[in-house]
């Protein structure tokens, strides 16, 4: 009974998170156009003992990429080498897109110690090792 209840709570929480993400994504272009920073396309891959975060950063030089970690958040910011002007599109006409900002909530089992990042062909790849799991023997 308890197990069923916990599973159901987890499912409902997951569904609420998905709905929040969906609503946020609907308004994201409007909000980001004002700040000049847009959320880049990205993916998070669970590769067994590590987590790989891949971020598409076209029009960016390696030197302008900032990767910050605070608490359980990973923040990636990058400035474009020249702003993206979309003057013909009314939504973007009065603002320029000058960079990217991505903020991700990291799962508790990943560590920034030993993390690596590479940037190739406009694609940033951050590899975050997972913390080791210790097994305690029950006597």
């Amino acid at each position: 009974m308890e197990e069923w209840f916990e599973r159901e709570i987890r499912r409902v929480r997951g569904e609420i998170r998905r709905l929040i993400r969906e609503v946020e994504s609907l308004f994201e272009p409007l909000l980001s156009a004002e700040s000049g920073e847009v959320e880049p396309l990205y993916e998070v891959i669970d590769a067994g003992d590590k987590l790989v975060v891949r971020v598409d950063l076209p029009k960016v030089e390696r030197e302008s990429i900032e990767i910050l970690h605070s608490g359980d958040r990973l923040v990636v910011r990058a400035r474009m080498r020249e702003p993206l002007r979309l003057c013909d599109v009314p939504l973007y006409s009065r603002c320029e897109i000058s960079g990217y900002r991505l903020e991700l909530e990291l799962p508790p089992n990943v560590s920034l110690e030993g993390a690596r990042a590479s940037f190739r062909s406009g694609l940033l790849e951050i590899t975050l090792p997972k913390r080791r799991v210790y097994r305690v023997k029950v006597e």
Partner: protein, 251 residues
């Protein structure tokens, strides 16, 4: 009203090929078809309407510009119809779209439908020149591809709108070929679009300069970020993940 309506803006001449580029993996089809229309001398001849398309109308040069359009290029009489869509269609409309497209193509004397797209490759980042595979329908398609030296897609799944068009061509014994370049799944991929256009030149003889596409690669990726995001949502519904699967008959 039928599910999909082809509205002809002028008399649509007969054409040998119907080229299709719709948003899919890496937006390869959309980028390639848009570049093709810009590079060769084309005229807008028709557009496609359906309740399966999102309720959007695009403006270009101050005038309405349909999101799913058909352009015509004569190329010395061979005749090319190029269908391009700016938006992904809903998964539930894919089958009726394929039926209507093939039916319309046949009415225009089309010998072969050529679809431009991407096949997601996890190794794409390591590939400077993505390979192109072709999925054909008839024996004549296989010979057509062999003559051009294009690798034939032998095993695996093709999913989404192109799968439905290939199935419809198969049912009607009509020529149908999907040219699929190894591409990113969820990032706009002009490099893969250049690869499919090069393959298109090889199979049909139509000359397309892909250099401008490569020169503007980063600009295109930055501009199509939002379109890619919306397309990903439609692709999730259309069973795109099947392309990573190995068919059970080979297990």
């Amino acid at each position: 009203m039928r599910d999909w309506v082809f509205r002809e803006l002028k008399e649509v001449r007969r054409a040998r090929y119907l080229i299709v580029g719709v948003p899919d993996a890496g937006l390869v089809g959309l980028i390639a078809a848009t570049h093709l229309i810009r590079q060769v001398d084309t005229e807008l001849v028709a557009y496609v309407d359906s309740s399966y398309l999102p309720p959007v109308i695009m403006y270009h040069g101050g005038r309405p510009y349909p999101v799913m359009r058909v352009h015509y290029h004569s190329d010395g009489g061979a005749g090319y119809l190029v269908l391009v869509s700016e938006v992904a269609m809903s998964a539930s409309g894919i089958h009726s779209f394929a039926q209507r497209l093939v039916e319309w193509g046949q009415a225009k004397g089309v010998e072969r439908i050529i679809m431009l797209g991407g096949v997601p490759s996890p190794q794409r980042i390591n590939l400077e020149k993505p390979g192109v595979y072709a999925a054909g329908v008839t024996q004549a398609d296989a010979e057509f591809l062999e003559r051009a030296g294009i690798s034939i897609f032998k095993e695996g799944f093709v999913s989404g709108p192109y799968a439905a068009i290939l199935k419809e061509c198969f049912a009607r014994s009509m020529g149908g070929v999907a040219l699929l370049a190894e591409s990113f799944l969820n990032y706009p991929d002009p490099g893969a679009a250049a690869a499919v256009l090069t393959a298109l030149s090889q199979v049909t003889g139509l000359k397309v300069d892909v250099k401008p596409l490569m020169e503007q690669e980063e600009e295109i990726r930055a501009r199509l970020r939002e379109t890619m995001r919306r397309t990903m949502e439609a692709m999730r519904e259309a069973g795109k993940a099947y392309e990573y699967a190995v068919p059970a008959m080979y297990v």
